[in-house]
Amino acid sequence: MIPRKWKMYIKMYWVKLAIVAAILSVIVLAVVGLNSLESYYRNITLATMPVNLLMVALNAVIFVFMYMTFMKGGFSKLSNKLRVHGDFVDVKWSDVIGMENVKEEAMEVVQLIKDRARVKKIGGKILRGILMFGPPGCGKTYLAKAIATEAGMPFVSMSGSEFVEIFVGVGAARVRGLFKKARELAYGYGGCIIFIDELDAIARKRVFSAFGGTEETNSTQNQLLAEMDGLQEIKDKHGNPSPEQNVIVIGATNAPEDTIDRALRRPGRFDRIVYIEKPGLEDREKLFTYYLSKVEADKSLDVSRLARKAVYKSPADIENIVKEAALVATKNGRDKVILEDVSEAMERIDIGLKRKLKMTPHEREATACHEAGHAVVLYILHPTNDVFKISIIPRKDTLGVTYSQPKEELYSHTKDKLLADIKVDLAGYVSEKMRFGVTSTGVSGDFKDAMRIAHFMVWSLGMSDAGFLGDYTVIPESQISEDMKEKLNEETDKIFKQCIKEVEELLLKEKPILERLISELLSKEELEYDEVEAIFNEFGKTHIKSAW
């Protein structure tokens, strides 16, 4: 009786086995043939063998090159995207840092996968798939690997984009190949986990043409639906479906949930939906502790302070910050990473590297004036954000920057916060106009942001004073009257102008602080959090932020 694993290996690797057997036979025959030769001819044959092999290889390369160039349209076809490897991964729960809620959910899933027989016995529905939603870099792949490790199953991974080809039917064929491989592995190991990253590439809502034609992604997705439904099971030698294969599909995407086709989200396909969020304060602390342990870091480094500063950062961002900090420390001639290195790394990543751009004195002054305006309004009016840095050193595509961060992550925003955002955006413009009478192109980005927020408030959030409630953006444009559009736009304009007015009043009132910040910026070019705090304190301003 051949064990199931051996059978699986034979099924999976019969082509390779046949090739190996053929190669071995050829080698044995060659050795026997060589032995039958007289020693001189044998030596000559052996001596010329390397050259002959080289020539054969060269001929093969030339042939393949010419064949691919002239017959098949290039080497891009050579890359075999259907090559799927089932590997055992070794990612433990303890390696997945943070995400405690998600981990709990995932553990439950693992338990369901392991206790498949028990679930079936009590008549429960067997889990077929898990769909993970979440922003990029939050550890979706890592979690999928941890699930595979904990469930003790091989892990087959492919990216959604690997199914996408311009050739019709290729995507569907790849889905079939993937599931075939997974079922073979499941046959040998009792289960297999398929992980499809960037699932949105093939799972977008299908498009149905009035002329009967369908898009290529439709057929790929249809095949995925069919495979997940369990219709394509391995048959035994009598043609009956063999014992059910324990194949679980884990999909991951950072696309919004409503962009994924509903057929995939229904029970029986992706039964479980797992939402992965960016890490909270505690998780960020753990992440910093974990990644800093991998580099030579100062023991006195305050990870909680770093975690507070890294609001909205994903685990991948934090890993990147620590790596960058190590580079900064090396650049600064230190053998340990200290707080300043991490701060600099964070700034490098968030606001970019400094550029050596030669500005005219007027441009410098205008930039200082613009940034000081942002800073004053931000410090005094903004309910959630802190000013971490003001700079008039060019970075990325800006001449200056006012770097602010919320104290903690907020999942919803009040009207006050949104209005404050608009005012902060407009402060640069107002400040420039007050000082010079004219404004520069530097306001374009600010205006865009401010207008977008104001438009959103009026059209979608019902935050105008005129009482237009509801989300007007869901109504097709042709069904909104011109009069209504005009009214809504007037409300947007009103918010915009009101904010400008309030900012003007504030900046006039706080002109001494504004002037002080401008002069400090012109002399120092950059002001850090503590320096900004000191200036405002000097004028009797304290920064009390409260997340509502």
């Binding site: 290996y9 690797y13 190669i23 060589l34």
Partner: protein, 328 residues
């Protein structure tokens, strides 16, 4: 994974090593050369041969029943048999651990043992032919083939004639004959098989080269268009001699003007020198032979000679020197 790339690589290397190691032993051990050739000739070609070795030379005696036809040409059957034996000798010489430099095949008709064909080949030439280092035409020119009256038979005839003419007591004839034949062969011309005995010597490279050059000169005078029309070559003999501490290749050429009654000229003599020297330079260079101090050519007809040192010969070969610049 069940079959890893490393495993396959290891397997291939193992097999290759096995193949290489099995190629390390010689097929024909040095102490069994004679038996090997006899066995091959007997089993594969149905020929009975006798084999003798001396130094680094291997000699095979092949008795035939029908060596030549009425036109004095080799019969097809004899030619095939000789080729088979040559091939067998080459196989053994190449696949043995004994150091064999030359092999020689002596074939004669059992009905007329005095007339013998002697073929001498260098093992190195065979190797170079296999390696495509020399052409088949060049290989054929490097082979020494001689159809001649057995020197031992000539001597026996002389002794018998002396006893007969001088009415000497025949009972001493065997004694004289034995003493007469005691002397070992000293040149390639003495090699032969007579009266169930091998007369062989260890062939050296220079004497092989001297003989080969002489053969090539004969061929050139026979087939070269201008030479054939201008000269009638009577004899060409090449030897490797030691004279006054110098190792010399010496060639004695006797060639007459082919037109009856025409006297020889200096130009004719120069043409002979030029031909012989160019052939000698080509052959010596072809074998990378260095162990000589000069080449001497003697025109027996005109009584003129020329001697060139190796540097001059090389310069002559590469056309950096002309004959009149060497100095006759």
């Amino acid at each position: 994974m069940v079959i890893t790339k490393k495993f396959l690589l290891l397997l291939t290397i193992n097999c290759a090593l096995c193949a290489i190691l099995c190629g390390c032993t010689s097929t024909y051990p040095g102490d069994k050369i004679r038996e090997s050739i006899v066995k091959i000739c007997k089993q594969e070609y149905k020929s009975d041969v006798l084999v003798e070795t001396t130094g680094r030379t291997m000699v095979i005696y092949l008795p035939l029943s029908n060596l030549m036809d009425f036109s004095f040409a080799l019969t097809k059957e004899a030619s095939e048999k000789i080729n088979d034996v040559i091939f067998s000798a080459a196989r053994v010489a190449l696949s043995t651990d004994a150091r064999i430099n030359f092999y020689c095949v002596i074939a004669h008709d059992i009905k007329m043992p005095e007339l013998q064909i002697i073929i001498i080949k260098s093992v190195e030439d065979v190797k170079r032919l296999f390696a495509n280092d020399i052409s088949r035409g060049e290989y054929m020119k490097r082979m020494l083939i001689d159809l001649r009256w057995s020197p031992q038979a000539k001597k026996e005839q002389v002794v018998k004639e002396v006893f007969s003419r001088m009415n000497l007591d025949p009972k001493w004839q065997d004694q004289v004959m034995t003493d007469f034949f005691k002397s070992e062969p000293t040149s390639l011309g003495d090699i032969g098989y007579w009266d169930n005995k091998f007369y062989i010597k260890d062939i050296t490279v220079p004497e092989f080269l001297a003989e080969q050059i002489a053969n090539r000169v004969k061929l050139e005078f026979r087939e070269g268009k201008i030479l054939k029309e201008t000269f009638l070559l009577k004899s060409a003999r090449g030897v490797y001699i030691l004279r006054k501490g110098k190792h010399l290749f010496r060639f004695d050429i006797f060639a007459e003007r082919s037109t009856y009654g025409t006297a020889g000229t200096i130009e004719d003599s120069d043409k002979i020198f030029e031909t012989v020297l160019s052939i000698a330079a080509h052959v010596i260079h072809g074998y990378h032979f260095k162990d000589y101090d000069g080449v001497e050519v003697f025109d027996q007809k005109e009584g003129r000679s020329i001697e060139v040192n190796p540097e001059e010969l090389e310069a002559f070969r590469t056309k950096k020197l002309r004959l009149n610049e060497i100095g006759v």
